[in-house]
């Protein structure tokens, strides 16, 4: 699985299981944590078997991100638009969480395909909520209008205490990510990965993809941004998004990919390190075999004799 998937498998599994076993009386109370500090808590009690309560906790926003009362800008409208009557927002959210939804399974459409589509949408709650401000900006781009913040960098949250910046303009939107990693090895690996992004964009097959640049110092688009956001130990990545990347069906996918870019790079850096460990272990085994060959036969015989095969050898 190279790309990060938008619907959360945990939620999808629970929703499907609940649908299949609607008559059986099983209480569900599960919590889980996803990458970048997103927590889910899902509850079903047998008193109302058709009602699921889903609570979502979002990553802590840094100071410069657009201030909101617990939820990103435009999240509530996005939820209403995406789910319709099936989902109801409970206010105030449960303790420790930022958003609580009541999902009414009775109101799901009866058509199998539509039902699955809505369940998939519910499992993608993270994309809907966290991606709401980005979706609004990109929708403006696809309609070639600009909101009040044209030309100024807008800070959006994608990780706890970190934000990325979008500079909306009439004909394009520039997205800048300050990339920060904790481990020094991660930094070097990520830097080489990010430079590959720039290289890959240059190949002819990807001419229609957004233009991609990497630089060690903050790019000029970030001139209006606060100082604390401008330190990044693995450089700054800039994507230039055109209207054709966000028209129609592509909008959702573009929002998800841009939202989880840092998580994507970080995931592959970790995979790379894991792969290196496997290789190194295999190499160590080869070398130890080579060393064993160096041992004289007398030594090997001594080792064999002291083992459980002593009796066998003795009989011969």
């Amino acid at each position: 699985m190279i790309l990060l998937q938008s619907p959360s498998r945990f939620l999808l599994q629970i929703l499907h299981d609940r649908l299949l076993s609607q008559d059986k009386g099983v209480d569900i109370d599960c919590q889980t944590v996803e990458f970048d500090d997103v927590r889910y808590h899902i509850q079903v009690s047998m008193r109302n078997p058709k009602v699921l309560v889903l609570s979502v906790a979002l990553p802590l926003p840094p100071e410069e991100a657009a201030s909101f009362d617990g939820l990103p800008f435009g999240a509530i409208e996005a939820i209403k638009a995406a789910y319709g009557p099936v989902v109801q927002i409970l206010d105030p959210p449960k303790d420790g969480f930022d958003l609580t939804l009541k999902i009414n399974l009775a109101k799901l459409p009866s058509d199998e395909e539509q039902k699955n589509a809505i369940l998939l949408q519910i499992a993608s709650i993270r994309e809907v909520v966290l991606g709401a401000p980005l979706k609004i900006l990109l929708k403006n781009l696809s309609m070639k209008t600009v909101g009040p913040e044209a030309g100024q960098p807008v800070a959006l949250v994608h990780r706890p205490n970190e934000s990325f910046f979008v500079v909306p303009q009439a004909d394009k939107a520039t997205v800048v990510y300050p990339m920060r990693f904790l481990d020094s090895i991660d930094i070097v690996l990520a830097t080489s990965f990010l430079q590959e992004f720039v290289e890959a964009r240059r190949t002819a097959a990807l001419n229609n993809a957004p233009a991609c640049m990497w630089s060690q110092s903050p790019p000029p688009e970030l001139k209006g941004a606060p100082e604390s956001a401008l330190t990044a130990n693995a450089g700054f990545v800039t994507f230039v998004v055109n209207p054709r990347h966000v028209e129609g069906k592509k909008l959702d996918r573009t929002v998800w990919n841009l939202l989880t870019f840092h998580a994507y790079v970080s995931y592959h850096v970790k995979c790379s390190e894991g792969f290196m460990h496997t290789r190194m272990r295999r190499r160590v085994d080869t070398l130890i075999q080579a060393l064993d060959r160096a041992k004289s036969d007398a030594e090997k015989l001594k080792k064999m004799v002291t083992g459980p095969s002593f009796k066998k050898w003795f009989v011969i």
């Binding site: 590959e196 990347h245 290789r279």
Partner: protein, 243 residues
Amino acid sequence: MLTGTWQPVRINSLLPDSHFASSVYLRPSLFQIASPLHSTSVPPSSRSPRLNWSEQIDTGSSVVNLLSISKDSTMANTIRLYLTCIRNTLEAAMCLQNFPCQEVERHNKPEVELNTSPELIMNPDLICRNEAEKCLIETPINSIRISMKVKQADELENILAKKFLRFLSMRAEAFQVLRRKPVQGYDISFLITNYHCEEMHKHKLIDFIVQFMEDIDKEISELKLSVNTRGRLVATEFLKQFI
């Protein structure tokens, strides 16, 4: 006088009272010398402008200078000759015998680690492939310490080498002849005692060490290649999403 391609030169004086004092020890066939070389200077050749001389590293110990040639020619050959030179040095140096400790009764320690009595410790040998890669071989009477410095061209190779060599050093127990910490200034060290020579065949042990060195180089370049390939793939998949 030098003809043809460069060759490694090794000056061998392992015993302090110079049994093989200052004799030239040359393996490769293309190399021809007119006069015996002394350990201090070798006259530069005027016929091949591409050859550049590496500086003499240390005047105290006997030193090997490897002629390094420009990168566009036979880079692959240099590793062969470097390893052959190391192998020959080890074959000559690996004559270890049991030697009980002089200082403490009934103790038997590898003298290279103690470094107390100068008469027990021979002159160390330093074999350099270029400024970045070198190999130090120290041979007292009952042990050999081989320290290597691995080539690290850029930041990525730097951390890959460090990671891999730390990984190996942690498993020194399994390797028996590996030292847990490398000698100061080097990346990895072996410690071979007379007991190891008694248990294992000498030529196979040398085979192992040379193979080890080759494997490290190969492994680091393969790791770097895998990182770059993965980066390319990841980037292509991501950007394809937008088309």
